[in-house]
């Protein structure tokens, strides 16, 4: 995956959270590449990317942080058992991916519908020839999350 794909996703994440949630997340450590089987947080949103690319973007965080984020997005308290937690997290991922894709114009990126999974000890897999680029990020008071991208031009 080309390194110039990273910044549009970071900018889109900051803009989306700033506009829709009222909080500015920041980068939180170095990028890393992951392949094989690796761990994710307990709340995982996945959204497929197509068009002139083939890939997906993941947004993952702890359930506790996810609840704070979605509660602020929605403007009402969201419990861990609420369907709004999964729906709201998926909608935020949809907006992040849409905004990033627009910044990568020329790749004509089309978005699939987001899928959100919740559960302890999530594991993701990545192929050696198409690894995930993990962007560690954090909300100032709510905790850490990752944006993870695997995307190749067709």
């Amino acid at each position: 995956m080309k390194s110039e794909y990273v910044n549009p996703f970071v900018e889109a994440t900051v803009e989306t959270y700033d506009t829709m949630v009222g909080v500015r997340p920041q980068r939180d450590g170095k990028l890393c590449r992951k392949a094989g089987i690796f761990a994710a947080y307990d709340l995982v949103g996945v959204l497929g990317l197509s068009g002139k690319v083939c890939g997906a973007v993941i947004m993952t965080t702890s359930v506790e942080t996810g609840m704070k984020v979605v509660s602020s997005f929605l403007g009402e308290e969201v419990e861990a058992t609420s369907p709004d937690l999964l729906d709201g997290f998926g909608e935020l991922l949809n907006i992040v991916a849409g905004s990033a894709a627009a910044k990568l114009n020329g790749l004509n990126i089309k978005l699939a519908l987001p899928t959100v999974i919740m559960g302890k000890e999530q594991r993701l897999t990545g192929k050696e020839n198409s690894p995930w680029i993990v962007i560690p990020m954090a909300f100032p008071e709510w905790g850490k999350f990752n944006i993870e991208i695997s995307m190749e031009e067709k």
Partner: protein
């Protein structure tokens, strides 16, 4: 004022509903996809002041829904504001060609949505 709110995300519908309520709109009918939106329109004899419609939805996309609405005389003049994420800008143009009255791009602030609604209603007076 009566509004048809169509989005597959319940969270986004709640956020948009709150904006509508702050504008004093209380009669809000919700649909979670295009097919349901068409059913609600028929059920209410197309008697809505305007419609907010997401583009990227399962079952029937917002643009297909829009084309269906514009293909019948009752839906020809209904103000329809399409709501989408910025990646679908080309789809916004497609929506405008298909008869969308206006569009709002996510991420948006509540005041952006309110402003789009007010502009659209002003234009369609």
């Amino acid at each position: 004022m009566k509004v048809l709110l169509t989005d597959d995300s319940t969270t986004m519908r709640k956020i948009q509903k709150r904006v509508l309520q702050t504008m004093g709109i209380t009669e809000i009918v919700e649909a979670s996809d295009g097919k349901m939106a068409l059913e609600k329109l028929t059920e209410h004899n197309y008697n809505f002041d305007f419609m907010l419609c997401d583009i990227n939805m399962p079952e029937m996309s917002g643009i297909e829904t829009l084309r269906n609405i514009r293909s019948v005389p009752e839906g020809a003049k209904l103000p329809i504001i399409m709501c989408t994420s910025v990646a679908e800008k080309d789809q916004v143009m497609e929506a405008i060609k298909a008869g969308a009255s206006n569009y709002v791009i996510k991420p948006f602030k509540p005041e952006d949505l309110q402003s789009k609604i007010e502009t659209t209603l002003q234009r369609n007076k």
